[in-house]
């Protein structure tokens, strides 16, 4: 098992190289002059300024040269400097990452937790009202685009009903808790600041639900189908014949088996969450990687765009590795090696 994990980790740089290459060249074939974000509009006609800027940012070199330089820096862990913020892309991302991580993890908990719960409920109450209800609810989540459900829920729960706070991670006048992980809910708990924790949690609920709702549909549908299959198996009858209560039969005997084929999809839904986070962050003014990506793309900020892509790809690869390992751990018949 350790060997397998090690092998997969060693493969990662190779895969990342591919991602970097594609991202690098793709971002450069787009039309538009990135200098417009470096040089102020007034100065764009000033040849001297523009040339100096071009030289300063390495844009006077050929594309392959730029690529070589970029890779050389990347190996040392340098993601380059953002045209827009004039700061290291690595720094920018490190600043923004905790917010996204907090959102995605919360969405993952909502999405898989409710997805599995709804799937089990639907299978248990097959063809009854609860089944139809659960499936309808999950279907809505996976068919409405995130920006649409995000806007509607924000309007309903925050503007109209006032039950939940609006955009952002905290109320305007609240200071962020002392930095430990950068995730406000966690940091507030570490600081023992219950009030800030509740506020951060309140801000987190809507975006996490919107993002989680989107993957809930896929997960609950698969769990339901998988549960229906498993509930017909002889070992479920054996469990009942032993005198196990229905809830124990469902969760201890059936769900454990039903989750095995579903695990892979949960891993893939993580990729969906990463892309979904971009839109969700934009709607909820969530200062994470997603909104950073949007701002960078608007400014044709190549280094930032490629940097964000690398981080996204890395997250995806890690999520897949975790999924495969979890799959092997859950299934005693599989021995990785």
């Amino acid at each position: 098992m350790q060997q397998y994990i090690l092998r997969r980790l060693l493969m990662m740089p190779l895969l990342l190289l591919g991602v970097v290459t594609v991202a690098f060249f793709l971002s450069h074939v787009t039309k538009g002059d990135p200098l417009s974000s470096v040089v102020s509009e007034r100065q764009m006609n000033n040849k001297v300024v523009v040339e100096a800027a071009r030289k300063r940012w390495g844009l006077d070199r050929s594309l392959p040269d730029q690529y070589r330089i970029y890779l050389g820096n990347l190996v040392t862990g340098d993601l380059g400097t953002s045209f827009r913020t004039k700061r290291g892309v690595g720094e920018d991302i490190a600043d923004r990452l905790p917010a996204t991580l907090e959102l995605v993890v919360a969405a993952m908990i909502v999405g898989t937790g409710c997805g599995i719960g709804l799937g089990v409920l639907a299978a248990h109450k097959r063809n009854e009202a609860a089944d139809h209800g659960a499936r309808f609810f999950a279907l809505i989540g996976s068919s409405i685009p995130v920006f649409w459900s995000g806007l509607i829920l924000l309007y309903l729960f925050s503007v109209q009903l006032g039950w939940l706070p609006g955009a952002g991670r905290l109320d305007a006048r609240t200071a962020a808790p002392p930095f430990v992980t950068g995730m406000f809910t966690v940091d507030a708990l570490i600081a023992g600041d219950l009030q800030t924790f509740l506020q951060a949690l309140g801000h987190l609920i809507l975006p996490a639900f919107v993002l989680g709702w989107a993957v809930m549909g896929i997960i609950s549908r698969l769990v339901r189908a998988s549960m229906l299959d498993v509930l017909n198996q002889d070992y479920v009858l054996t469990a009942r014949a032993k005198g196990a209560a229905e809830l124990r039969v469902l969760l201890h005997h059936a769900l454990r088996n039903a989750l095995i084929p579903t695990l892979t999809i949960i891993g893939y839904s993580f990729a969906y969450l990463i892309t979904g986070a971009v839109l969700t962050e934009a709607i909820f003014s969530w200062p994470g990687i997603g909104s950073y990506a949007v701002e960078s793309a608007r400014a044709l900020d190549y280094p930032a765009i490629v940097g964000v892509t690398i981080i996204g790809a890395l997250a995806f690869l890690l999520a897949n590795l975790v999924t495969d390992v979890a799959y092997a751990l859950a299934n005693p018949k599989i021995k990785l090696g």
């Binding site: 009942r240 005198g243 196990a244």
Partner: protein
């Protein structure tokens, strides 16, 4: 046998489907099992053997409707709330199934599954104590190296070992009754005899009442005290094992007997009698066996025979008296040991 029966099934009906599409998989079955007795239930596939005993355990699917009565140690089980049934299932009354591979949970260790049976009915039992007891139970069913085996998963067990583990799990709480639904059908011939040996031994050691379901008369010959023969959702004949073998009064039983493989002839699947048993939805009128019966007359298609005592057995045939000479016309091979045992590896 003067004591109260352990299990008493009376007028049991199990109906699948609704309205015009409904059909009785079990159409009025009466059976009793005395404490410590071995009852063999024999019949071709589809005759309602499994559904009868599943209904007795309260394990039929939601779509089934149950009628009649099932009394276990005098207590009525039909209509009993699930909570009450759960306290009996696995504790006083246990069941094992045909395919031990699919009957064990693939993601739980054998030990965890045996220990679960114990802990479900002994809430005070610690995890550790349950595991220790699981090791003892595996030893009881002659699984070698039980300390190592408890930590293994079902796929690491052979077919015979899996069925032993199933039996260990079923007898974990020393039940009064064990229902074994075709416990040897999915196994190799040599392993079949070993599993039968384990069941017989347990029954002698623990005094468990046993219901042995099989489509193979050879399996029950050496093991059962009494035999009930089922056909089309009914018991068509029952009696002591020797009486059913030597003094059967039913043409269906005689057909089954005639089809037991001879010592020197190897037969994979038994094809007892010409024709196929009726499907659930197209049961013939009158005696369900009449379309395949060599003795059938007009009366058989209109009037269903009642179960009545004829000679040594209870039988359900209008013309039972014509079969008074057991050897008359129909070959009844008889060897008390299961005939298949002779077909060695």
């Amino acid at each position: 046998m003067s004591q109260q029966p352990l299990l008493e099934i009376a007028g049991l009906k199990v109906t699948f489907g609704r309205g015009a599409a409904s059909a009785d998989a079990v159409a009025g079955v009466d059976l009793t099992v005395a404490p410590g007795e071995v009852l063999g239930i024999v019949g071709e596939s589809g005759s309602g053997k499994s559904v009868t005993m599943l209904a007795a355990m309260g394990l039929t699917p939601k779509s089934a409707r149950i009628g009649g009565s099932v009394r276990f140690r005098g207590q009525e089980l039909v209509g009993m709330p699930q909570k009450g049934l759960r306290a009996i299932r696995g504790a006083r009354m246990a069941m094992i199934f045909q395919d031990p591979l699919t009957s064990l949970n693939p993601v739980l260790t054998i030990g965890a599954q045996v220990a679960e049976a114990l802990r479900l009915h002994n809430p005070g039992l610690s995890r550790k104590a349950a595991m220790a007891r699981a090791v003892e139970l595996l030893a009881l069913v002659s699984i070698p190296e039980p300390e190592r085996r408890v930590r293994q998963y079902p796929h690491e067990f052979s077919g015979g070992m899996r069925q032993r583990a199933m039996i260990a799990m079923a007898v974990a709480n020393s039940p009064d009754l064990l229902i074994a639904d075709e416990p040897t059908t999915a196994l190799d011939v040599t392993v079949q005899a070993q599993i039968m040996e384990v069941l017989k031994e347990l029954r002698e050691r623990l005094g468990i009442g046993l219901v042995l379901i099989t489509h193979d008369l050879g399996v029950v010959a050496g093991a059962a005290d009494r035999i009930a023969v089922m056909y089309g959702g009914r018991v068509v004949e029952q009696g002591k094992v020797d009486d059913v073998f030597y003094r059967s009064r039913h043409p269906y039983t005689r057909g089954l007997l005639a089809s037991i493989p001879k010592l020197d002839v190897r037969q994979e699947r038994l094809q007892p009698i010409e024709g196929a048993p009726p499907s659930l939805t197209s049961r013939p009128s009158g005696c369900p066996f009449h379309p395949r019966c060599p003795l059938a007359e007009a009366r058989c298609s209109s009037e269903e025979p009642l179960l009545r005592q004829v000679g040594a057995v209870e039988t359900r045939c209008h013309f039972a008296e014509r079969l008074d000479d057991p050897e008359g016309g129909i070959v009844v091979p008889f060897d008390k040991a299961p005939a298949r045992k002779a077909v060695g590896p």
